[in-house]
């Protein structure tokens, strides 16, 4: 019988840090990565020498990005592993770091995501199989088609879709790490450049780069390094899956997202109603509406009502994408999943300033990667 993370040694996030997400630039990835790493070390109260292993999520930096970066902060001999899993690269880096500490292999592990906007080469182009439509492997198009169907079947309006972008851009406007930091009106989101179907540019994630880091530790490390237990956030579950054979028109990514969310609740011993904050994969506005339903935050078919009623806003029942999400905080791929952990840890510690969700105690970071793969982590402040 497989064991869950919660049944192994307790794992705590003790330090988080970020380099702001930004549009593609000449900034070296090493600078961005080390900025996030140093911030996480300071946050944790640790020196780099304490880190026993590093899990580096990246898609566009090229082979062996970790060692090239780490030799500028100290060649300590730590174990280094690079992880590419499309949008979920950073989330899987975090999962591996947690599993190492939980299993007892390490006491202090680093998950770091860092990325430049790369060549975006996808393995699907090497499958050797054409598709009838040249956009068949473009997720944006799948979701734009689904928007049209939901408009007809559930009364989802263009304004409902734009409302996701509106909320998330306004959340990001006070987030110093966000790629977009400009408040937007609903009309601006609605009237931005139309991309596909009813989706407009301010409802879609931008191209970008950046870095995020999270340090996880065992109870033993907490004691031996004299770390501040009051700032530790426990990782209760780490759950991953991928698409199954399609049934009807529901996107495989949504089915996988639902399955992973429900499993991660079980493994964490919580229900959707226990969640105070959620960071989720809103690469396109429709996804946030679909996932709030799939995650059980609201009933199926009520995602747009949940949003309209402000229940997913900061101050609502569960703050969804308080960082601004992929739409507005940004989505540099490698860092994105670790950036979600950064936001949730700050929320659960009560350190999130203008974007603080009152009395936040339990949060979930949920990510989708091309394929599709899905992964989720539940965190709790004890």
């Amino acid at each position: 019988m497989p064991v869950t993370l919660r049944e192994l040694r307790p794992v705590h996030v003790i330090g988080v840090g970020m380099h702001r997400y930004q549009f593609p630039s000449e900034t070296p990835y090493i600078h961005m990565g080390l900025t996030a790493l140093r911030a996480a070390l300071t946050d944790a109260g640790l020196e780099f020498q304490a880190i026993e292993s590093a899990h580096v999520g990246t898609t566009g930096c090229g082979m062996a990005a970790g060692r090239v970066m780490f030799r500028h902060i100290g060649s300590t001999g730590l174990a280094v592993q690079q992880i590419e899993n499309a949008s979920a690269s950073g989330s899987f880096a975090f999962a591996n770091a947690c599993l190492e500490v939980a299993s007892g292999v390490r006491d202090v592990a680093l998950a770091i995501g860092v990325d430049k906007y790369g060549d975006q080469k996808r393995a699907v182009t090497k499958e050797g199989i054409n598709r009838l439509s040249d956009t068949a492997s473009v997720p944006l198009v799948k979701y734009a088609l689904l928007c049209r169907t939901l408009a007809r079947e559930k009364g989802l309006s263009a304004e409902d879709l734009a409302r996701v972008g509106w909320k998330n851009h306004n959340n990001a406007s006070t987030n110093p790490f966000a790629q977009f930091q400009k408040p937007r009106t609903l009309e601006q989101v609605l009237n931005s450049t139309r991309v596909a179907g009813d989706l407009t540019s301010l409802q879609c994630t931008p191209r970008g780069e950046g870095a995020a880091a999270a340090i996880v530790v065992s109870d033993d490390a907490m004691r031996s390094f004299g770390l501040n237990a009051a700032r530790a956030v426990r990782v209760l579950s780490s759950t991953a899956g991928s698409e199954t054979l399609p049934q009807g028109r529901e996107p495989g990514s949504v089915i996988a997202a639902r399955d992973v969310a429900l499993r991660t609740y079980r493994e964490a011993g919580i229900t959707a109603q226990d969640l105070d904050v959620v960071e989720l994969h809103d690469a396109f506005s429709i996804e946030e509406i679909l996932y709030t339903e799939a995650f059980g935050l609201c009933p199926e078919g009520h995602g747009h009502h949940y949003l309209r009623e402000g229940r997913s806003a900061i101050g609502g029942e569960c703050a969804v994408n308080s960082s601004g999400g992929l739409i507005a905080q940004g989505h540099p791929l490698g860092p994105t999943g670790v950036g979600q952990i950064h936001e949730i840890v700050r929320q659960l510690r009560g350190e999130n300033g203008d974007r603080q969700q009152a009395n936040a105690r339990i949060g979930m970071a949920h990510m989708i990667g091309l394929g599709s793969v899905a992964i989720a982590h539940v965190l709790r402040k004890d």
């Binding site: 199989i129 598709r131 956009t135 473009v138 088609l145 054979l245």
Partner: protein, 134 residues
């Protein structure tokens, strides 16, 4: 004129429509599209169990939109794409050769050859039009 994606389709005998190249698995009996050389995606049987089966190119249109931005290499927006059921349970994204205004949900569309320019060469692509317009 050469076909743009000959692994996916071939001209019908009269040359007016496209036949789609699907695969039938002898182990599970399932039909899959596109046909691939890797095995059956439904039951995992090896490629020796899969044989080609031509589909008529008729499909039921389930949804359609216009793409306004250049969201993929090789496309010149605006283009109209849709999701269509090519055979029971086989839903694929297709490109349509007519504007949205000419389309209705659940209409039967037909795969037809349409000349396009690709890599500085004229080739026949597979596009879909309302069957009634054939």
């Amino acid at each position: 004129m050469k076909l743009c994606k000959p692994d996916l389709y071939k001209l019908s005998d009269d040359g007016r429509t496209m036949l789609l190249r699907a695969a039938r698995c002898s182990r599970c009996g399932g039909l899959s599209f596109p046909a691939a050389n890797y095995g059956c995606p439904l039951c995992g049987a090896g490629p020796e169990c899969c044989s080609e089966e031509a589909l008529s190119g008729e499909a039921r249109l389930l949804e359609f939109i216009t793409i306004h931005g250049k969201v993929a290499p090789g496309i010149t927006p605006p283009i109209v794409v849709g999701e269509a059921e090519l055979a029971p349970g086989i839903i694929e994204e297709i490109e349509l050769a007519v504007p949205e205004e000419a389309l209705t949900l659940d209409m039967i569309v037909q795969a037809v050859p349409i000349p396009i320019e690709r890599d500085e060469e004229s080739v026949l692509a597979c596009r879909f039009i309302p069957k009634g317009a054939l």
